[in-house]
Symmetry: C2
Subunit: 422 residues, 2 copies
């Protein structure tokens, strides 16, 4: 069997642990020298592949690759760049195969969300069609936790741990000051379409009365009066009220609350997030003192408080992707399979890319309480193990010590640069 080169590409929004997957891929590929020659990475994701901008990971030291395991962000650069259908984006798919051919790439590992699994699938189809056999393995990654056929998505567990920890800590602060200061605190978290991250804040509420008292999900239409009544009742009962709000919260007409636009005469929809919008409501209609926070990128890059389970799964999907590829599997996504809830036991499985591509996994309605403001026991049972364990990065001079790679470019072999969109 002839050795062929491998290409690893990061895609879409990065996470605290996507580099742990990169570490798993590269360390494992380095141990399979009979099958795999060089290990390349795409510079800034699939864009780099289209532009024949490849990085030679062989120039990185063992220690640097090891340090990826504890470094957030995307070490090789990622891209928000979606390839469409085979017909619509034909030039791009052909160019990918052209680049693969020029660099003798036999293994393509695409590490991303829904779109990436779809792209990996299409590449495998086109490779066959063009007579260029290529092993395509999708590796899941997304803080949104919305991929099907996997127990969870690497990246999600660490965001979940961050938001649950943060809301618990802020709630201790608010509770101690509520008598004379802030009565309502609102934390805005990510989740444009699904409430998985908002749900995770509910893990902090492990005793009666513990924050968050209210969770606002994108799945549940925002009802201003009901929300304000709930805030008022919570303050009456506990002296304060802590709210977790999903950025994807929508009003009755289906518009994003943060972009409802009624408040800013200049139409600066992006100025307000959901949290300040809700805070203004609380102030105007209840007259209560408030504070709000928007975690934004902090939540998905907080490697210092990553879930150990998440880090281990992120590494494992990378490792298994390579092992499956050299064993001859193709057109699959590696996945996480739950064996039991408590104690949490899991293993790595696979799902055909054809079944994963473009399918979105929604949060089950029975994960949200009937009143729409909290999580159920079933949800807690699902989420709890995903935040399990700590995996602190090394610190130097009081700060986490993260690696920056050398990113040595591979010499281009194609005469022409890509004439498509990028």
């Amino acid at each position: 069997m002839r050795k062929r080169n491998a290409l690893y590409v990061q895609s879409g929004g990065v996470t605290a642990v996507i580099n742990a997957t990169a570490c798993g891929v590269i360390e494992t590929a380095r141990r399979h020298r009979t099958h795999i020659g060089k290990i390349f990475a795409g510079h800034n994701g699939i864009l780099g592949v289209l532009n024949e901008e490849l990085i030679d990971t062989g120039k990185e030291s063992i220690a640097a690759i090891r340090a990826l395991r504890h470094t957030p962000g995307g070490a090789f650069g990622s891209a928000r760049y979606k390839l469409k259908g085979l017909e619509e984006s034909k030039l791009e798919y052909q160019r990918l195969i052209e680049v693969f051919r020029a660099h003798d790439i036999g293994y393509f590992f695409y590490n991303g969300g829904n779109d990436s699994q779809d792209t990996a699938h299409k590449v495998s189809l086109l490779g066959r069609e063009l007579g260029y056999p290529i092993t395509c393995i999708g590796i899941p990654k997304t803080v949104d936790n919305d991929l099907p056929h996997t127990d969870t998505c690497p990246g999600f567990g660490s965001v979940a741990k961050y938001v649950a920890t943060s809301i618990r800590e802020a709630a201790f602060d608010v509770a101690s000051m509520a008598e004379t200061s802030t009565k309502v605190f609102i934390l805005e978290v990510m989740g444009r379409h699904a409430g998985w991250i908002a749900a995770a804040t509910g893990l902090a509420s492990d005793t009666p009365g513990a924050a968050p008292h209210i969770i606002l999900f994108p799945e549940i239409t925002f009802d201003e009066d009901a929300f304000l009544a709930k805030v008022k009742a919570t303050v009456a009962k506990h002296g304060h009220c802590v709210v977790a709000a999903s950025e994807g919260l929508k009003n009755k007409s289906g518009a994003f609350l943060a972009e409802s636009g009624g408040r800013d005469a200049f139409g600066h929809a992006q100025l307000g997030g959901v949290a300040p919008t809700l805070a203004t409501l609380v102030k105007e209609r209840l007259g209560l003192k408030y504070h709000w926070a928007v975690a934004d990128y902090l939540q998905r890059s907080a490697r210092h408080i990553a879930s150990k389970t998440d880090v281990e799964q992120a590494y494992a999907v990378g490792k298994t992707a390579v092992e499956r590829a050299v064993k001859g599997d193709n057109a699959i996504m590696v996945s996480i399979v739950r064996k039991s809830d408590k104690p949490y036991r899991w293993t790595i499985g696979t799902a055909p890319l054809a079944k994963v591509a473009n399918v979105e996994r929604k949060m089950p309605r029975n994960f949200i309480t009937r009143d729409g403001y909290h999580i159920t026991a079933a949800c807690r049972r699902y989420l709890q193990p995903l935040i399990g364990g700590e995996d602190y990065p090394p610190f130097k001079d009081g700060l986490p010590s993260y690696v920056k790679l050398k990113k040595v470019a591979v010499t281009k072999r194609l005469a022409e640069s890509f004439r498509g969109k990028p």
Copy 2:
């Protein structure tokens, strides 16, 4: 010598380590039984004392008091409640002495910022005047780091570590996506009047080109054109730009940027923070894609990423306050004295309350670079040791395990409730 009771009171905005000070006070007082009888705490700060709402810390277990060392917020409740001059707030000061007398309180430990040191000072004066001898010890606490006569204020080091860690992590995220996504990221941090916290983000920038690229201090008047030019140049050079902005940023007319009000026709000044205001500028005038985060209470409650140095100092000031009190010191604030920068060596000292009260410590101009957008080597030398070391809380089920006290009320002894303001 007759045993007398002690009263410990938390004041003002709480921090990630004010309870470590409470732990230091209570554990140490429990070891001085020849001098100190019961150890009370004020429920919700000085308000609780005025209302004769005292907590008997003797009802808390050894383990619960120990757990205060790793629990954020104010375990006994804190208050934003300022006592004014002795004449203006005479009723209140007299009431304090009345409550002290009713509960045989001979030691008053007031844990707070500027106002609290002033109050502690006035109580000591009035006690003498009214023939009720009371030992008053001020214990520093404030994330603002604005108390004089101390190297730093417990609470600040942990916020500093949090903001520097967070901006470094977010910067790794932004750098990896900048090619196709966010080019400018803005993190808003606390600091209404002084830029100490904003300055601390600069610690993350320990190599050339490392984020934050721009720090906006309340000490430097915001110049829109200069700021935008700097953002543009940074994006041109590094592909992205990470900004730390102090909430106290002011424009040329001296108005807070977040409340400049020019953008919202309905006058909702609180809707926008500094970060979204700056982000809108970046979008409108440079056309660059942005993201922003507002850390708000998350930064001052993030016990999970507390500075070990800060925790140790917070405990030490509590411990020393008690030791000095039983030795006969009075009307002093315990302080932190720096012996050397590198290695950082410190000890606990004292300063007369009369000298501390109402004096604000400003950030020296030579801590900010000449262009006004970053910190100098002198600033770095001062700040660096304050974030040193990690001191993780215990975790349970994936989340930090914090203590909630029983807070058993002391039986009231005064016939009348307070007739003053509270």
